[in-house]
Symmetry: C2
Subunit: 210 residues, 2 copies
DNA sequence: CCTACCGATCGGTAGG
DNA sequence: CCTACCGATCGGTAGG
């Protein structure tokens, strides 16, 4: 019994990272489904097989749990987006790079299994205390910058007919809003997969090649 | 004292409509700011100068308050949108009718003073119990139908390069998402007013005239 | 990480 | 619509 407890308590005194990661993942799913205020610490604990007081061994309060979810999402999203835009599609035409950005956002940011972190940010940004917002905004700005670079190029080429900064807000808005209506296992026959959805999004917002 | 109470209690036995309307309005603002689960009945009561138990004289539980907010928003939105699309802009070109739809959604649905009802629906749809959703969806479908008619026309004219149904979801998504970033009293100098925002939105999603 | 618990708060109600 | 209240639940903590 005691040995089991010790196994999860690293020598350094810092909580075990696996358990912490388990918590953040479980919490992301719960917050996405029921919201920050609608989720109790007891929900969180039981989702990872802990007792009600134990999450506070890893996080000092509920708000830090919320921030951890958002930061995890931005960190992961930044890595994946950078891999697509700055590495894989570096030499490609802006339109193709744009298509890949859109597809990545639909997939690994919003709708792939386990992608609950950013949706929590979209839904519950207002629940994050101001003092936690600064750090999160820094990460978010870096994410936006990657998009902005490609959108600026498209604007220069005449493929984007709106102000490039507003275009970013509107395009990411259109994609993010799919969090409210897209279901990977739909009830209706009108199934749209993420590839098709990305293509349609690109078609909608880019002007035809002149 | 007793007279004051009686004045607000109509003979029919039904609660006074003005007080009910006051409640719905105040609740919409609170739910928009703090979310459904993050708002207490005591917040609601004190916002309209009541004591904590009194809102239950008008609504049997907290969820009915949420539904009332959403229905009020859809009812108002439907009226205004119909006035614009089906009356005022009936004979106009689809592109102009579209522009007015977009402008109305930005204004009287999302960002004008007192337009907190629909944002509550966007944020807290998941908090509405399933048995309340049916009625709300009926109203929402009618709202969507007005948009869809104009988008179908634009698609036929070649001004819309995506599937018209997905276009509706994406365009309303782009507009609705402004609820998370648009501020009528911005901190930065980059002020964009709703007229300009509507124009930019139209420019983004419509293909240039061939 | 568990046990055992606390003080505060919450949605809701009875009775007037 | 108020007064007075209840039972349940909540975030969080002490001590091991």
């Amino acid at each position: 019994m005691a040995a089991t407890h010790l196994r999860n308590t690293p020598a350094s005194g810092a909580p075990d990272n696996n358990r912490r990661a388990d918590l953040v993942r479980a919490v992301a799913q719960l917050f996405r489904e029921k919201g920050f205020a609608g989720t109790t610490i007891r929900d969180v604990a039981s989702a990872v097989g802990m007792r009600s007081g134990s999450p506070f061994y890893h996080f000092t309060n509920k708000h830090e749990l919320l921030m951890a979810v958002m930061e995890e999402g931005l960190q992961l999203g930044l890595e994946r987006t950078r891999a697509v835009a700055v590495v894989d599609a570096k030499g490609l035409a802006p339109t193709e790079r744009f298509r890949r950005l859109v597809r990545t956002h639909y997939g690994s940011i919003l709708h792939d299994a386990g992608s609950d972190f950013i949706p929590v940010m979209l839904y519950d940004w207002r629940s994050l205390p101001v003092r936690y917002k600064r750090r999160t905004i820094e990460l978010k700005d870096r994410y936006d910058a990657i998009w902005q670079a490609t959108l600026d190029e498209l604007h220069r080429e005449g493929r984007l007919a709106a102000d490039a900064r507003l275009a970013r807000l509107m395009i990411l808005g259109a994609i993010n809003f799919s969090a409210t209506w897209y279901r990977s296992k739909p009830r209706t026959a009108r199934r749209v997969d993420l590839d098709a959805l990305a293509d349609e999004t690109v078609a909608l917002v880019l002007q035809r090649d002149a």
